[in-house]
Symmetry: C2
Subunit: 179 residues, 2 copies
């Protein structure tokens, strides 16, 4: 329906404290101050109840070279699989919220649950971003995240593909100035 959609890796703890991750593309930023992000999950997912129980989640954003692990996180359920063990990725316990993130992924948001809306097939969770961690390698010369270094994945809802980021097109609040 909407293009592009992001590829979020949502990190949670289950009731026994086992770290889990799943891939989700329904979500985005929803507030600048306090910084908030949304992610919508089906109630049947293992992560759905984990978030409700712990009132927290993380969003890790992978680079395109990590597509295999990201895709795997969407293929199997945390009910039956230890996805970290299977992919040999490392769960890191957040010091700020009750959820784990993926050490090897270059951008991580640690979120405290602030709103839940049941919409039908999906429940939307809104998290306040308590901290964002970015690897040095994705920071550009100006001190901000450089999308060309991050190389995040894009999900295409209709055709179910992953795409990469393309070329710089224009500066925001500049391209339209001569209209």
């Amino acid at each position: 329906m909407v293009y592009p959609t992001p590829v979020f890796v949502v990190g949670t703890y289950d009731a026994a404290g086992k770290p889990n991750v799943m891939t989700a593309s329904w979500g985005g930023i929803c507030c600048s101050q306090p910084p908030c992000v949304s992610v919508a999950l089906r109630p049947a997912t293992y992560s759905h109840d984990n978030i409700l129980r712990r009132k927290a989640f993380t969003i890790s954003i992978a680079s395109e070279q990590q597509v295999k692990q990201v895709d795997y996180f969407g293929l199997v359920s945390g009910r039956t699989t230890d996805k970290f063990a299977a992919t040999k990725l490392t769960p890191v316990k957040s010091k700020l919220v009750d959820a784990p993130f993926v050490k090897e992924f270059p951008l991580v948001l640690e979120c405290k649950l602030v709103d839940v809306t049941e919409l039908g097939m999906h429940t939307q969770f809104i998290g306040e971003v308590i901290d964002a961690k970015a690897d040095e390698e994705i920071i550009g010369s100006g001190g901000a995240v450089d999308i060309r270094k991050l190389k995040p994945l894009i999900f295409t809802p209709d055709t179910q593909d992953y795409f990469g980021i393309g070329n710089f097109i224009a500066k925001v609040f500049s391209a339209g100035k001569d209209i």
Copy 2:
């Protein structure tokens, strides 16, 4: 904070019935059934009150060659400017919801307001997608939207740039199968 974020052109009518459009990047899909999308706007924007009054909005998605018009929609306010007249684009009255969309943009969602959440600097609106209209030129051989034909814009929150779509990386639910 999150990559990629989309570039939505939000269409609304004001109290006098004048069509307005603004650019917004805080939002995304939030439910598959009923299909719902979210978009978050600052209360100070003209569109914010338009949505509350008419209980409807559209989201038009432009192609990268329309970046000038899209950027202009984010530069000026509908309070003082007729943005359609200024850009010579055409407002089309939706037959399904009380909002206009941009005729020249290749993908349009017509949304009925179903949920409002005040989060702080932004208010999140959730709309049920009553219909989606796609130009023939963006439909691929399989009958679905082809992101390579649509060429949607991406917004980078940190550096405030527009980027395009890149290369195909992998099929979803396939790349991770050999883990």
